[in-house]
Symmetry: C2
Subunit: 136 residues, 2 copies
């Protein structure tokens, strides 16, 4: 039997961290493999962020290792916006669930969903789980 | 221990049916109670749809009964838009997961998420699972 796959995009924000935590829980619940995707535009346009990302990604790998989660980490440098990169990857790899982080709306502000979140929610062939950071 | 609760709005569209199917699967996976909410504005504004809804809701109840899913069906008539009704209910009842159906984007069209879906995705305290009808 083919393993189920849970996909999460890697991003060092409170939303990204909430998504990673939820994706770990979902992968365990479904006995699925967790695929952590790091999407870079490439062409030198995000090189300044690389050292920071590498460090954070290493920490994620160590954490998943210690936690005994079946996982793989994939770095994509294909000139795509992150939302489209995740979508394309989810189709190519027949992913079963995508987990995304969305911002928590302030009590007053009328927030709209970001374009990456909208693209993924509308374009995904598989279910998408949207989670928020804990209330601060 | 308090039971986990999975919430789904009842609506007789392909998106609503996809959401119900996914919510049943999630409730089973999490050993949770499935709460099916039927939201009506009330005040005579949706009375013409009532017989049709009653029939469909009875069919859902029979199906959940036969399937052995721990569930409850709640009809809300509080003058609210469905999205806000679901949100308010999810907070009052400390729901653990909301399942919603979203439209499948056509290969050409640039679709935006409906306002109920956006309200729920942005306003929910708990995770939201967005699913689509099967490809036709």
């Amino acid at each position: 039997m083919q393993d189920m796959k849970v996909l999460v995009g890697f991003i060092t924000t409170p939303e990204g961290e909430a998504a990673l935590e939820a994706a770990i829980a979902e992968a365990k619940l479904r006995d699925a493999r967790l695929v952590v995707v790091h999407s870079l535009v490439g062409g030198g346009r995000d090189e300044d962020q690389l050292p920071e990302y590498k460090k954070a990604l290493d920490a994620v790998a160590a954490r998943l290792e210690a936690d005994g989660v079946d996982h793989e980490i994939r770095e994509l440098v294909r000139g795509n916006a992150p939302g489209n990169d995740l979508l394309e990857f989810s189709r190519d790899e027949a992913v079963d669930l995508i987990v995304i982080g969305v911002r928590r709306r302030s009590p007053v502000g009328k927030l709209v969903l970001g374009s990456n979140a909208q693209d993924i929610l509308l374009g995904a062939d598989c279910p998408v789980l949207a989670v928020k950071p804990a209330k601060s």
